[in-house]
Assembly symmetry: C2
């Protein structure tokens, strides 16, 4: 077995996975890993949770050290060491020891670039204030943890996954939070209505949401930092955490002349080779094939990074047995207090923007049998290709079982299932875990009913007075939470009250969850009405803020 | 729309789903449902949980009543009404009102048979004792609940899914439990080693397990009922719950001349039609195609029953748009105290018995990031077709996240995925919910490593002294829980200690979880040793009873 010189730039997810897999495949390879920061292979997804104290021990996040990687995997790890430039013609990298300032050339047979991505910090007045933080490394985490010691109020800018985790964890520390988001809803990666429960949960916990608000500048005043919004509002706080996104760290790749994509990511083939076949790349800095539809995508998350690193090592050492990276889907989830919300594949918004001919349905049910204690509602939205029925994406929100449904749908999407296939997934059912017809089955039923023409759905309540809006909820519920312009005819009395409706005018049926309105629509459609059902029910469609409108 | 006369025999899962779907598809059908018992559409899966008080309200289990089904679905429901015989030539069913004793012929255009299955009660001496119960209906449940009022000790016979739920729930009521199982392990539907954690949990809670024990007879003595085992042991208790399995209720079908399968189930085609095309059947009484491999199967569970009823109604009313039932996989799960254990598809035992050329691997990991509080181990076993890699089955056991992994694998099996596909499932990851490499990915990695020849696995520790058994766990762990005959060389010191091993003799490596032993096997294989890794580690393979052998 001939030896080989491997050089890995970046010691966290993608780089560490590459090195570990390479070692298992080639015992006598010489593997050097360099990392700009002081830590390697740390649990970056855990950073917010140590700030909030939910992960009490900082050591828990330092998964490996240079010493442990030497002992376990025989890696030569150099931390606080930066790659300065790549000399592709002579296959060597100039590295600088950040402590001594000394430069050195390291030769490679194969190079792995896993430089990651850096938090975006837009150039705006006052942004260099020392109390404005971003979160990427253990060092960043320590800075924020230190600010928490004395701070009472914080502004979190960006309500994406990290921003929500930070808001939740800072709140655990008793910090008052302003959460500012440029888009009109939190988790702008998701469709608007799918974040309503999450927004309600944030407000319920006292997080001050500023949605659709642009930050224009920061200003220091009275020992605090002021965040100025375009609306004129000024948020005063002891510190600010900025989490508006990341940009790939690709200056090294660019200067080495490697091909970059439209948005600046490193371009790789299915085996994670860059435009130079002796240089691999993995993780947040690369773009890959989109696994769902055509085109390229960049998903800066730990799962893809780890698996990409592994693919590269396989390609290097396994020959024909290596299998390519199948592309990324963008599966992601976040917990904020008691609510979980997530996505896999494409959202309706993204499909719409791309001009894809799609269909969608939203269903509500409970995470397990309703008669079993602890049943809580869950909302699931799926999108599919209109012509073929192929699943293109799913979003879920609720208190429990959200991750499970996302995982089932991520698997279904990876398998290129059609919505009809969801009807007959045979999922694990016992009362503590599910229902005889799981919400995933229900989504399949609802989608198939649409495709079979059994129901016409509408996403919005009619504002045309010609349309008869029929609320089929039980009377006490309709009385307590009335819907403007709706006539209440409970589903159980509908058949006896058809003469109250005008057959010449269209009907929209509505209920809480979208199930009874479908039942009603079937009765009406078969008795000659032109009818559509309000998809997903009131629960999934109206702001469930205060008062509850169930 | 022409009217049609539908008659449904059996008012629970399959029958109720058929009726509900039929109503939605044909508003003017006349639908009559007859049910022998006093209740329709009740939550039979919830029965054990009301006995134990976890579901406090009995009403919660009575999902629908004849009145509510009339109001909601315009069904004519007759309870306490038994189908006596079917006259296929004139398409009518003789039914008997069990209260009045009166008989009546009911005509049908289409008939649905959903009679379900009855608990097996083997003919043995003393089995007619009034304190020996089975559990199928609300009435059965009430009888057991009544026995719980005064009882202190109970024998549960059969440690399948229902038996385990009953044991757990009776224990909640302070009843001392003897749990008797004919097979050598609980949940005989699963492979033996996958039930070790469950058995440990049952014992931890004070359940007295009698495994590999046959019941020979019952005897009344001193106001108690004695259960006699073949071993000579006598278990004395206030009552007995027998849950050794079910047999399909098919006397009506048999007498009507419908085709039955080898094991007495009603034979149906993909659209749930019996050998008489005007008679459908669904639920516990039918056998269907096996969804994983060739042949027929019968899965007496609520999920399949509900979906079969729906398929039949679709076939009747949707014409070309109806899609056939894809067969059953046998996905099932049970919670016993804090442990969940389940299966989907085929077990190793079943594959072995059927002479299928399969491979299998068992992996251990945690349900979510180890650094996040509450991480608990989880064991996952997968089986696949040796030649193609196609997934054939999965089993999982652990404290949390078991249902999720079973559902992902049930989806993967339904999609006819190969083990390589598991490597790149992009599952929802945030520290509270999963890991960057989920245990499902790990199972794919382990299976792929086997298929690629990177590792040789063994399921048993060697008893041949020529084999060098190397325990690569950290020294403190190896000292505390030593493995007989093993030499401890921690993985981190292995490379420096290769000279302690004899290259002429085979090596088996072992650790707690099966991961480090794989690392070690790779080092040894690449340095010229003949080595195999103990699959799944000690945790998954040795009785984790007392003392813990981790």
């Amino acid at each position: 077995m001939e030896s080989i010189e491997l050089l890995v730039i970046g010691g966290v997810a993608g780089g560490a996975s590459f090195a570990a897999r390479a070692r298992r495949l080639r015992e006598n390879a010489h593997i050097t890993m360099i990392e700009r920061g002081p830590d390697v292979s740390f649990a970056n997804c855990g950073l917010p949770y140590h700030v909030g104290g939910e992960i009490p021990s900082r050591n828990a996040l330092a998964v490996q050290t240079p010493q442990s990687l030497k002992a376990l995997l025989n890696l030569d790890v150099r931390t606080r060491t930066e790659a300065v430039s790549i000399d592709r013609s002579s296959k060597r990298v100039l590295v600088r020891d950040l402590q001594s300032g000394q430069n050195e050339w390291l030769a490679y047979d194969k190079l792995m670039l896993a430089p990651g991505a850096a938090p975006v910090v837009p150039p705006m007045p006052g942004v260099d204030d020392s109390r404005i933080f971003t979160l990427r490394s253990l060092t960043d985490m320590d800075r924020i943890a230190s600010a928490v010691q004395t701070g009472k109020r914080a502004v979190v800018i960006g309500a994406g996954f990290i921003g929500l985790e930070m808001a939740e964890q800072l709140h655990r520390k008793g910090i008052d939070i302003h959460l500012v988001e440029l888009q009109a809803h939190v988790l702008p990666q998701l469709d608007a209505k799918m974040t309503l429960l999450l927004e309600q949960e944030l407000r319920r916990n006292g997080i001050d949401l500023h949605l659709g608000q642009q930050v224009t500048r920061f200003q220091t005043a009275n020992g605090t930092v002021q965040t100025h919004l375009a609306s004129g509002k000024i948020l005063e706080a002891d510190f600010v955490v900025m989490s508006i996104g990341v940009r790939p760290e690709t200056s090294l790749a660019r200067e080495a002349g490697l091909q970059l994509g439209n948005r600046g990511h490193i371009v790789v083939n299915g085996f994670m080779q860059t435009s130079d076949p002796d240089i691999y790349a993995a993780g947040d800095a690369v773009e890959t094939e989109d696994r769902v539809l055509h085109g390229q995508t960049a998903v800066p998350l730990g799962g893809p990074a780890n698996r990409q690193g592994r693919v590269a090592a396989d390609h290097l050492f396994l020959g024909d047995r290596a299998r390519p990276y199948p592309g990324s889907m963008g599966t992601a989830i976040v917990r904020a207090f008691e609510v979980a919300t997530g996505v896999t594949g494409w959202t309706e918004q993204r499909l719409q923007n791309a001009g894809i001919d799609y269909e969608t349905v939203t269903v509500n049910d409970y995470q397990h049998a309703t008669y079993f204690p602890g049943a809580r509602p869950l909302t699931l939205k799926i999108c599919w290709e209109a012509k073929t029925g192929r699943l293109l994406g799913a979003q879920a929100t609720g208190h429990e079982g959200v991750d499970k449904r996302l995982d089932v749908l991520a698997t279904a999407i990876a398998a290129r299932m059609i919505v009809e296939d969801l009807c007959h997934l045979e999922l694990a059912y016992a009362p503590p875990y599910g229902s005889a017809k799981d919400i995933v089955n229900l989504a399949g039923f609802a989608a198939t009913n649409l495709r079979d023409g059994l129901v016409v759905r509408t996403d919005s309540l009619p504002d045309d007075p010609v349309v008869q809006l029929i609320d089929v909820r039980p009377k006490p519920l309709a009385d307590a939470y009335p819907i403007a312009g709706a006539m209440n005819i409970p589903i159980t009395t509908l058949r006896g009250n058809l003469d109250k409706l005008d057959r010449q005018r269209p009907v929209v049926t509505l209920c809480s969850f979208g199930k009874m309105s479908y039942f009603a629509a079937r009765v009406l459609m078969q008795t000659g009405f032109q009818v559509s059902s309000f998809s997903g029910g009131i629960k999934a469609n109206l702001d469930p803020g205060i008062p509850p409108k169930l």
